[in-house]
Structure formats: C-alpha cells, structure tokens
C-alpha cells in the first residue's frame, strides 16, 4: 500500500527585542547564568507583568508578512503546568484569541512548482528558563525565562520531510528579513515541534498523529520526520496501531523515542490572565506596523533575477542572507556586469570571509571596492588572474583595487603595438614552435602564448595576445 505523510509544524521564535516580554531585563544570549533576571521574571511573590509592546508589534509584523488576519482584539491567558523551568508554574500565553490568524508561507517543491503552506495562527508568549543537568544536581538558568517567544502554527499542509525543510527555510528567511528574529537555531532562537501522521494515499481521514520534540536544526527536522514516517509506515504494514503520543528525537542515534503517551497529556487549565489588559489593535496601529514591512525574500529573489540578470540559483543564495543581499546590491550598483559580482561573491568572497571567521558585515572589502575590482577586469585594465591576486591583497589590507594595481604596477598591457612587440620577440625566439604550429600541432600555440606572457611579465592582455599571435602565425 502507498502511504502519504501529513505534517504540521509548530515553530517557536525568540523575538529580537531589547527587553523581555513582561519585565525590563535584557535578552542577550550567552550572559552568565541568572544575571539577566529580576523579581518579575523569577516569579517572586507579589510581582506583576507589564507587556512589551515592541514584541506585540513584531508578532503583528510577522502576521503581515505571512498574510495573516490581524486580531483587533486579542488577550492573554495563563497556561498552567508545573516544571522547574517555569518561574510561576504558569506561562503567560495566548489561548483562544491570538494576535494573528490564518495566512500562508510559499515554498518551492519538486519540479520547480510552488506550494502554499497554510498558517493557522501566530501568537505571543514568554519563554521558559533553561534546565541543565549535572552529575548529581540540576541547575536552572532564568536568563531565558520571559524572553518574548512567538509561536507560528502551520496547517497540516506539509507532505514530506523536504517540504518541511523548505517551509522552515522560507519562514526563517521571512522572519530575518523583517528583523523579527535572528532565528539562530544554535542559540535556541528558532525551535520546532512537529505533528506527523501517515495515511494510505487517497484516504481522507488523518492517521493517528505523533508529536516529535527536540529537533535542534532544520536538517534535524528533515531527518526526524523521515525516520518517523518510515517507522509509522512500517508499523502499519505490520498491522500495528499508531499510538497518539509525544516522541523525542535523538540526533545521535537518528531515532525517535516515546516521551509520553496520551494518558499523560497535560490539562493546561487555560484561563484569561487577570494581570494584563486585552490587546486592542486599531487600523492606525496596524498601519504604522505595515510601514515596517520589508521586501519579502521571494519578491527580492524575483527582482534579483530580473534586475541583475542572475540565474535563480544565484538569486536564491544571495537573498537567503539579508546582509549578503544588501552587500551584493551595493557592489552591483553601477557595475556593467552584475553577474560577475555574483560570481565573485559566491566563489571567492564568501570563502574568504568564512575562512577568516568573519560575517559579511565584517568583510574587509567594502561592496564598493568589490564593484571597482570587477569594473577593472571588465574594462580590460587587469586580467582575471591578476584580479585574484589583487583580491587577496584587498582582503588582507583593506586597500582599494585601483590603488593596489598602481602600487604593484599590475596594469594590463592592452596596447596593440606593445603586445605585437612581445609577440614578435616570442616568434623570433622560438622558430621550432612556429614550424610545429604550421605543421598542424595546436599545442604549440599555447606554448607561444606562454612565451609572450613571459616576455610581458604577465601583463599583456591575454585575449589580445591570442588574437595577434594567431594572426601573425597564420599570416606569415
């Protein structure tokens, strides 16, 4: 029997705000444990939450980017459960009236087609603390407790691990483009739980769903889903029943394990948070947030293809990183050959940047300087081979291309008379190669070209050398 997978993803995103969701503590990642805490985010007796308005705006901006309906009236609820990472043993979240409802994220699927993955809702809540387990004790770091956390819930429109991968990548790019979050999964800024079931192809009803937790990378999500789908199909093939349960992905063994079964499902006893007022959004407020809408990644990709004449692949790679796309656009401004800039960025620049353990923003070569280098090659002032050396020098010193070319006397000789003189020298000095060429040995031509370059100390315009040499050999 043929089976198809039905997947829904719940994505938790830490919002990029200066302070926490309900208090003034900093949110920066990596501070020593329990240094970014106060009575409010530690859940001390008598404290009260105060809503971070910027976090609400960022959630609504997300809603606008993914085409959600923005709630004009939304409220906060308490989600009750006991765990040491919960300062109050309830989490302030949103139950039945989230900030954003509906929407979609477009992904590319097999064969270059696009598919819309529906969004059910996006709501805001507070992150919990981080538990660490040591040999005989456990520790709780409350720095993370209270960081604004947005949850984006997809519809069960995803049908394969690859689609899940594409959805997460697309969502991440959208969130980064709107400066909603940095989405660094290693820092826990983007986390993903998944609901997955399988059913015979053609069957309408959903199969029993299984929730998977603890997938820490986007490719981990893909692997976990692939494993889980295989596991469920194998079980059904053996005539076993799939249990509704929560399973934990173990990246090391590449398997999922039962965490808790249905009987142990929590009753969260949601009820409206009496310490906070409902969130009322007027058209004017939404309009203000709309002004912050960025160019969405998909739109930008299409523009890059059209405006710069780039292949889809190049456009996709550049747009995936907002800073890189911005760098590219600056470098390509006023350059005759923007595709050449893309080649430089992808083949040389990115390699150098990552080898130097820098980000694109810290690149010692400014986008304008890269544009200048490409223009020098384009104008024939230096050869492509020279350009590689100039680039290395630029990367090491931060100097401009023209300055280096001048300092090192690297300018290419493109004067036909001067090149002809070098060609004549080479022909005169290598009569055997000349006769070999005339006898029909094309390899001799390359040798002679090399000799011309040697005479010119590598500065002769190689294209011109080829033309003149061929003309002379064939003509004499």
């Amino acid at each position: 029997m043929e089976y198809e997978a039905v997947i829904g993803l719940e994505v938790h995103v830490q919002l990029k705000t200066a302070s926490k969701m309900f208090c003034g503590c900093a949110t920066e990642f990596g501070a020593p444990p329990n240094t970014q805490v106060c009575p409010v985010c530690l859940g001390y007796p008598g404290v009260l939450p105060v809503m971070n308005e910027e976090a609400v705006r960022k959630t609504i901006l997300t809603g606008l980017m993914i085409d959600s309906e923005i709630s004009r009236f939304s409220k906060w609820d308490r989600k009750n459960y006991f765990y040491p990472d919960m300062p109050k043993n309830y989490q302030i979240s949103q139950y039945d009236l989230p900030l954003c409802r509906g929407g979609a994220v477009e992904i590319k699927v097999e064969g270059g087609r696009t598919k819309k993955i529906g969004i059910i809702r996006a709501h805001l809540e507070e992150d919990v603390a981080k538990n660490s387990h040591f040999e005989t004790t456990s520790g709780v770091d409350f720095n993370r407790a209270g960081v604004p956390l947005m949850e984006v819930v997809s519809a069960p429109h995803i049908n394969s691990p690859d689609e899940a991968f594409a959805y997460l990548t697309a969502l991440k790019e959208i969130l980064i483009s709107g400066v909603v979050s940095d989405c660094d999964m290693e820092k826990g800024q983007l986390r993903c739980d998944s609901n997955v079931s399988v059913r015979p192809v053609g069957q309408k009803a959903f199969g029993e769903k299984v929730e998977i937790k603890n997938m820490n990378t986007i490719s981990g999500v893909r692997r976990a889903l692939a494993y889980e789908i295989d596991r469920q199909i194998a079980a059904l093939t053996r005539n076993e029943k799939i249990q509704q349960e929560t399973r934990r992905w173990d990246d090391g063994t590449g398997k999922t394990f039962v965490m808790r079964t249905k009987e142990y499902a929590h009753d969260y006893r949601y009820f409206p948070e009496p310490d906070l007022m409902p969130v009322v959004m007027t058209d004017a407020m939404v309009g203000e947030i709309r002004k912050r809408l960025p160019e969405l990644p998909e739109t930008k990709r299409r523009r890059f293809v059209k405006q710069y004449g780039l292949p889809e692949y190049d456009a996709g790679l550049l747009v995936a990183d907002g800073a890189l796309a911005a760098y590219y656009e600056k470098a390509a401004a006023g350059v005759k050959n923007p595709k050449a800039i893309s080649n430089w960025v992808m083949t040389v620049l990115l390699g150098n940047v990552s080898a130097a353990k820098k980000t694109i923003a810290e690149c010692p070569i400014s986008p304008e300087q890269l544009g200048e280098l490409v223009s020098l090659v384009d104008g024939g002032q230096i050869s492509g081979k020279m350009a590689k050396d100039v680039f290395a020098e630029m990367f090491a010193t931060g100097k401009g291309a023209a300055v280096i070319v001048k300092e090192k006397g690297l300018a290419q000789i493109s004067d036909a008379g001067a090149v002809e003189a070098f060609v004549d020298l080479a022909i005169a000095a290598n009569p055997k190669s000349v006769s070999d060429f005339k006898a029909g040995n094309p390899a001799a031509l390359n040798f002679l070209k090399g000799q011309v370059m040697k005479h010119s100390k590598g500065k002769a315009n190689p294209q011109l050398v080829g033309e003149i040499l061929t003309r002379k050999l064939q003509g004499s």
């Binding site: 009575p39 008598g46 009260l48 009750n80 765990y83 043993n89 009496p274 310490d275 906070l276």
Partner: protein, 485 residues
Amino acid sequence: MSLHTLTIQQLREKLRQGEVSAREATQAMLDRINAVDGKIKAYLWLNPEDALSQADTIDRSGIAKDGKPLGGIPIAIKDVINVEGQPCTCASKILNGYVSVYDAFVIKRLRESGALLLGRTNMDEFAMGSSTENSSWDVTRNPWDFDRIPGGSSGGSAAAVAADEAIAALGSDTGGSIRQPAAVCGCVGLKPTYGRVSRYGLVAFASSLDQIGPLTKTAADAALMLGVLAGHDASDSTSVPQPVPDYTAPLDRGIKGLRVGLPKEYFIEGMDREVETAVRSAIQQLQSLGAEVVEISLPHTDYAVAVYYLIATAEASANLARFDGVRYGLRVAGKDPIEMYGKTRGTGFGPEVKRRIILGTYALSAGYYDAYYLRAQKVRTLIRRDFEKAFVKCDVIVTPTSPTAAFKFGEKTEDPLQMYLSDIFTISLNLAGNCGVSIPCGFTSNPKLPIGLQVLGKPFGEEIILRVAHAYEQATDWRKQRPNL
C-alpha cells in the same frame, strides 16, 4: 493623652508643631505593643531597633515638620505586602524565612510620604479566611473580647488599630478582608475601587479582586491614607490612570440631598437582631443629616458567594503555583521535582489554602471550565450590572458589613461554608470592582462587640463614601469608645 491613642491627623499635628518627635511617637507605639500585644498578638514581626532608626532618620531630615502627609506616622503592614528587607510570609509556612527583595508600590508611596513602617501584622494564610484563624503562626484576639476572632483576613491590622498598637495599618481586601475585620474590631476599613491602588508587591490571592486599602481610626484618616496610596503605577497593568482627587478637603461638605440606597436583598432573615437594629438606626441618623433613603435591588446577590468562590479560587490556584520550593521559601526535598513539589506544598500550605487550590484547579479543569469558571464570569458581569443599575437611583449604598458581630474561636472552623457566609455582604463589591468602607455604627449589648456599617460607592466614588462615613462619624461617638485593655 497618650500618643498611641491618637489618630493620624492628631499625631501629625503634634509632630508638625514639634510637640513630639517621630522617635517619641514610635517609642509610644512600641511601649503600647509591649503592654498589650502579648494578649492580642496582632503583630507577626516587629523590629524595634529598625522602627526607631527609621524614626531618627525622619526626625533628622525634618520630614515630620514639613508638609508630607504621613511624616513620622507609624504604620503597620499586613504580612502580604512586600517591604524590602523584611519577612513577608503571608502567614504561611511555605514562605518561612523568605525576606522581600523589593518594596511594593504602596510601600514606596508610604516611604515618600514620610511614614514609618512599624511591623508586620497577622492574617489568614494567603488572605484566605474571615477570622485570622487560618494563620500558620499565631492566634490574633479581638481587642473587645479575647475569646473572639478579630475578623479576617486582615485581622492583625484591624486588631492593631483597634487596640491602639498602630496609628493606622494597611490591609488587603479580596472579598471583604479589610471591611469585615474593621467592622468586628471597631475601626474604619476602606476597600478602594479595583485599579485605584497598585497591586504591585501585594502577594496575589485573586488578581481580579485584590485591592490594598487602609485600616484607620477615623474616616478622615482613611481619606488621608488613600490620597497617599492611590494613583497610576506603570508596573501594574490593571492600575487605572485616573486623576487622584483630594479626598480630605470635601469631607466636611455634608450629605444633604445625598441619595442612600438600601438593597432589599441585604436586610434578610437570619441577620443578627442587634446588627440590624444598629444599622437601621444608623440609616435614620443619615436621614437626619439630610440624606434621602431609597430602596434598591441587587437581584443577583444570592449568587455572589458561589461566583466568588469559583473565580477567586481559580485565580488562586494559578497564583499560588509559584510556591514550589525551587527558588525561595520552604523546600522539602524529594527524589525528583514532582515529589519535591508535593512534599513542599503538602507541608507548607495549610488546610484552607489547599482546599481553595483544589477547588480552583477543579473549576478550571477540562470539561468543567464552561460549567464553573466561565459561568461564574458571566454571573459576575450580571452582579456588576446590578450595581450599575442601582447607582442610577442612588449615590451610595448602605448595608451591614457583616451579618454578625465577632464570633468565637472555633465556631465556624469545622464548617467552611458557614465561614464563607460571613462575607456575604462584602464580596459582591469585589466582584463588581466598586469601592466600599466600613465604619463603626454601634455595639452589641452583652458582650459589648463592635458593629460595622458598610457604605458602598460607584467606581472611583471614594470621595463620596468617605464623606458619608465622615458625616456619620461626626454625628456619633462610637469611635470614642475603646476596648478596655
């Protein structure tokens, strides 16, 4: 006249004139506490050195002589409000050893107004109760009769004021916890409108009902205190940015032509005869002062106790979840976190608190939420509308504060429902969010026990109810009668 018997206004005058220093006033309070608190046990915690050092600071800075409203006035604080550096146990074993790390908003206000924080008063554990018998620490006795309860949950604060162990005190009122103890101890207790006084720093029992308010010897003192406590606080999202009027200035304007509403549902069978007589003659007194009496109806009164015990316990079940032994207070070790929670909470909470947590947890559980919590919220809206409609016909509503005078220890501890019914006249007000004040209006004959008159107002109508209370107080001499200690 001994300093400890003075009102805020009287002591303020002496301090301002330089007749007495803050140190002398504080010493007088400490002496009084020394003399009588062994019997009454209003205080859970007192640090005489700290109190005297606060007094010295006030004397040195000249605050007592300047215009600050409470300069040099010693005030007792209910053990549910955070004062930095002082214990805050909420009369619960689960917060044994906990020392506050910050000042509540009202404490900042008191400090800014020159008040002196005298000590911490006893209460029902986490403000759950009507007799202070639910304290984990001490039995506080009614200053009028040591065999009787001081009311609750702010029983320590009321007893301290009634016994002249404090010039004034702070309490908190979720279903009557300021007004009922004020009534049975014979002092003035004001519950402000919800949102009038910031709750930041008040350990939450039921967030949508809790308000902090003053317990004082006179209505004028309550007005003075409210002026200090009221006002918007950005750290409490439910605090209302409504301007704070001068509550003291209009006190003497009288009540001529004021419409006083009497809810027919509050004058019921089973009310103590002496209480009814006292309240009825108080109403006559108001009439003779020029007020006009109208009958009104609050038709959903019968549901108030049920609604209250669903909403308050539901909120409490979440509010009290943070006491888990992880970060502060009592911890009883277990082999895993779940066992630690169970042992800590099992040991730390008393029976009434456990009962209410279980009740609230049940009311919020899947399958019961709609029938209990949600239904209760709907009826709460009806109760609020009752008051809105009633206040079209009248300016204030007058009722007894409590159906009986102080009862004896143990009389209602066996039957929680009987205990809950002692709040029958006070809890509707919290559900509606309006303001109310209780003032002395007479005594039972044998034994002599204070009776309270409750004056209820519109949202942010504190100015009017205080004016009524003050006018009545000026026309009677109940407050001049003091317990014989």
